[in-house]
């Protein structure tokens, strides 16, 4: 009896220490989560802090007098005349009128406030409305990138202001009058890449990413699922299938650039497919995501309880019926989750695309699987390497767009799992 009492004593004595130990253990866990979360917060704060201004554009509203004599044009339907006409002069004149005190000598300084592509906007407008010739129209144009930077980051030391004191005074005045204004940057979502930051957009990259992802999904999901079903349900257990399994696991860990090299050697050099097209990008990314999809699909098939198979076999279903009617539907949520995570990984990939020529300056929005295209992470990479400071905020804004895509894909994966999952 004394022995037992002493045991209870021992337990009581150690109780405090054990509680302490547990508290410490929990604290470690919380600390780990806190570190991970703070890294995430710093990342997001940095990107959003730098990039939110990428979603803002600076415009100038002008009363443009479309004087035929000044523009050397008398018929706005004549292609030849449109090509030779001067569309910069009316813009300069319109802006000069808004800046009292600007003389003929300031022409160049005034011109440098307007976006170099504003004349193209004017040309397109006149081409669409030939009867505007000789009238005065109120139109809104993008400002020059230097003005954009000044308006948005005038008091930020990280940006260098390129405008002269005189130009800054003009811009301040026009801002007060409301002629220069900032608004939501729709250009960013409706244009392809450009060397002029004000005119650059992510639409080309978004479309390129969607085309590439479509090819990847269409190829990798059926192949991956078929391979997983065969390996899990039909393949005999022998040295050979072990060998295949080891190889698939290894492939999942191969650096992605290797798949790019393979794509270059096989698809482009051997098969003669064109460079920089979404089809080749999709093929390369298929190779990259296949192992992930196969592994997760096999895990999903394995987690279907044997009782389901036995019950189906018990009432006389063939092996194929068991798989197609019972195992596959139950394993589907797991397979879909794995595939979506694999696709999200592929969406953020740039390294293999470098070798097959998708890291390129492409202005036109791609309109097919065989059209030159680039993808979102590549667009970020290209902008981050540009000398123009205004591209920094565009790069961060593009990262936000990419993150939005990734988050929605992951959310879809979670929703599908919740929706389709069955518990036993």
């Amino acid at each position: 009896m004394t022995d037992q009492r002493s045991q209870a004593e021992i337990v009581r004595q150690s109780l405090k220490r054990r509680y302490r130990k547990e508290r410490r253990f929990r604290a470690y866990g919380i600390l780990a989560i806190a570190i991970a979360l703070s890294a995430l917060v710093i990342l997001f704060a940095d990107i959003i802090g730098k990039g939110y201004s990428g979603f803002v554009k600076t415009t100038v509203t002008l009363d443009v007098q479309l004087d035929g004599e000044m523009m050397y044009i008398d018929d706005a339907t004549d292609e030849r005349q449109l090509k030779m006409a001067d569309f910069v002069e009316p813009l300069i004149q319109a802006l000069m009128k808004e800046i009292p005190g600007a003389t003929e000598e300031d022409r160049d300084a005034v011109r440098d406030l307007i976006n170099p592509y504003a004349s193209v906007t004017l040309r397109d407008a006149l081409q669409a409305n030939p009867d505007w010739l000789g009238t005065t129209q109120t139109m809104t144009f993008l400002t020059h990138t230097d003005v954009d930077v000044y308006v948005k980051h005038g008091d930020d030391d990280a940006y260098s202001i390129k405008l002269t004191e005189e130009q800054q005074a003009w811009v301040d005045r026009l801002l007060e009058q409301g002629l220069i204004d900032t608004s939501f940057n729709d250009v960013f979502f409706s244009n392809g890449d450009s060397r002029d930051p004000s005119k650059a957009g992510v639409l080309g990259a978004i479309v390129g990413s969607l085309l590439t992802m479509f090819v990847t999904l269409v190829l990798s999901f059926p192949i991956g699922v078929a391979a997983a079903i065969y390996l899990e349900e039909f393949a005999p257990q022998n040295k050979f299938t072990d060998f295949i399994e080891v190889n698939i696991n290894n492939l999942a860990a191969v650096p992605s650039i290797i798949f790019g090299l393979l794509g270059l050697a096989v698809f482009i050099n051997l098969f003669g497919m064109p460079r920089s097209v979404p089809v080749v990008g999709g093929l390369v990314l298929t190779l990259m995501t296949l192992p992930t999809i196969i592994i997760s699909s096999r895990a999903a098939i394995k987690s279907v309880p044997p009782s389901i198979r036995e019950a189906a076999e018990g009432i006389g279903a063939s092996k194929m019926q068991v798989v197609l009617h019972h195992v596959l539907p139950l394993a589907m949520p797991g397979m879909l989750t794995g595939s979506i995570i694999g696709m999200a990984q592929a969406l953020g990939e740039t390294a293999p695309l470098l070798l097959i020529g998708m890291v390129a300056f492409i202005v036109d929005v791609p309109d097919g699987f065989f059209d030159s295209a680039t993808v979102l992470p590549v667009q970020v990479f290209l902008w981050a390497g540009s000398p123009e400071l205004a591209f920094i905020e565009r790069a961060s804004a593009a990262i936000m767009v990419l993150l939005a895509f990734l988050i929605s894909m992951n959310a879809l994966a979670i929703w599908l799992r919740k929706r389709l999952e069955r518990r036993w």
Partner: protein, 349 residues
């Protein structure tokens, strides 16, 4: 057995089809090459795309050497039409082109770019000679006690080379060996400061080159990848660091960075265009003549590139930082664009 035969037939047919499949048609000009020319070529491409009815050319920034390799791979729409370079084509690359059937090439020299040694404007600026630069960055340098003997670079601080230089550790960020900027830096700056040293005077040309163009590998020279913005960012954060990159990046960050003078010359537009600045190099692009007329718009693109609107004294390339050629050189370029003369091997020697 039957199954095997069927498989074999299918595989054979597939591979034959793949081999003989004609390369897919392309109507977009494909341009590869130097990351230094890329910012200029992209502006021209975009202007060309908005001005004309041709699609906007596609540009890949592969580095000068990588561009040459792709360009010289052969004739056919799967190969690029134009390659940009921040140095001249090498004779070995010319031979590669010839061997692969790319026999007719036209060369365009489009202007200059300077390589600068820059630092944060808060740092102490340097007045360097090329010799001092080589002593700071060379892998093997002359022994200070015996100028004929080469020893592994002993200098840890700039002030050890010359007491006028800053008393900080030698740390220089620069481009990797794949970049044309690095080629030019090695050739013009390092070799320029090394070839007159007594230690290499008696060497054969090849030995001299390998000594003069070897950069130290003990951490004083840091390779930063092709992203020059990264170097700029690092320099602003760390005022004891110096960086090597193209003049256009200096111009873009003029209020935050300053450049060291080399042999007493400050890198300015004028000094680079007139070759007074010692580390100025020319920029080129090469056109594959066999593709002119096959891929629509090549000739027009070249004409746009060498037009006064682009490369003239008030051209738009000047505002992006290109140091434009003189008026006479521009006239020559326009003649070239009209006639497309073949590049000869003798010219590259």
């Amino acid at each position: 057995m039957k199954l095997n035969k069927a498989f074999a037939t299918v595989a054979l047919a597939g591979s034959v089809a793949a081999m003989s499949a004609p390369a897919m048609a392309r109507d977009t000009i494909s341009i590869v090459g130097s990351s230094t020319v890329y910012p200029f070529a992209t502006v021209v491409a975009e202007r060309f795309g908005t001005k004309t009815d041709f699609p906007t050319p596609k540009l890949e920034s592969t580095g000068s050497g990588g561009g040459m390799k792709l360009f010289c791979q052969g004739i056919g729409t799967q190969h690029p039409d134009i390659t940009n370079a921040s140095r001249r084509m090498k004779t070995s690359e010319y031979d590669l082109c010839m061997n692969n059937g790319v026999t007719d090439i036209t060369e365009f020299r489009i202007g200059s770019d300077g390589i600068v040694i820059a630092s944060s404007s808060k740092a102490q600026n340097m007045d360097l000679t090329l010799e001092q630069l080589f002593l700071a960055l060379g892998k093997e340098v002359p022994n200070p006690e015996n100028e004929k003997e080469l020893i592994p670079n002993p200098y840890k601080k700039w002030s050890e080379i010359d007491s006028d230089l800053p008393n900080v550790a030698i740390r220089v960020m620069g481009p990797p060996p794949t970049s044309g900027t690095r080629d030019s830096f090695n050739e013009l700056a390092l070799q320029g400061g090394c070839e007159d040293l007594p230690a290499v005077a008696d060497m054969s040309e090849d030995d001299m080159e390998s000594v003069c163009q070897s950069v130290r590998e003990d951490g004083a020279f840091i390779e930063a990848g092709e992203n020059d913005n990264l170097i700029v960012q690092k320099l602003i954060d760390d005022t004891s660091m110096y960086g090597v990159f193209g003049y256009s990046f200096l111009e873009e960050n003029a209020d935050r960075l300053q450049a060291a003078t080399l042999n007493g010359v400050e890198p300015t537009n004028e000094a680079i265009a007139t070759d007074k600045y010692p580390v100025a190099r020319s920029l080129f692009f090469y056109v594959k003549k066999a593709h002119v007329g096959v891929i629509p718009g090549i000739k027009e693109y070249v004409e746009e590139f060498v037009s006064p609107a682009a490369m003239g004294q008030n051209g738009y390339l000047k505002s992006v930082g290109l140091i434009v050629p003189t008026r006479d050189a521009l006239m020559d370029l326009q003649d070239k664009a009209a006639n497309m003369p073949n590049l000869k091997k003798e010219e590259l020697m």
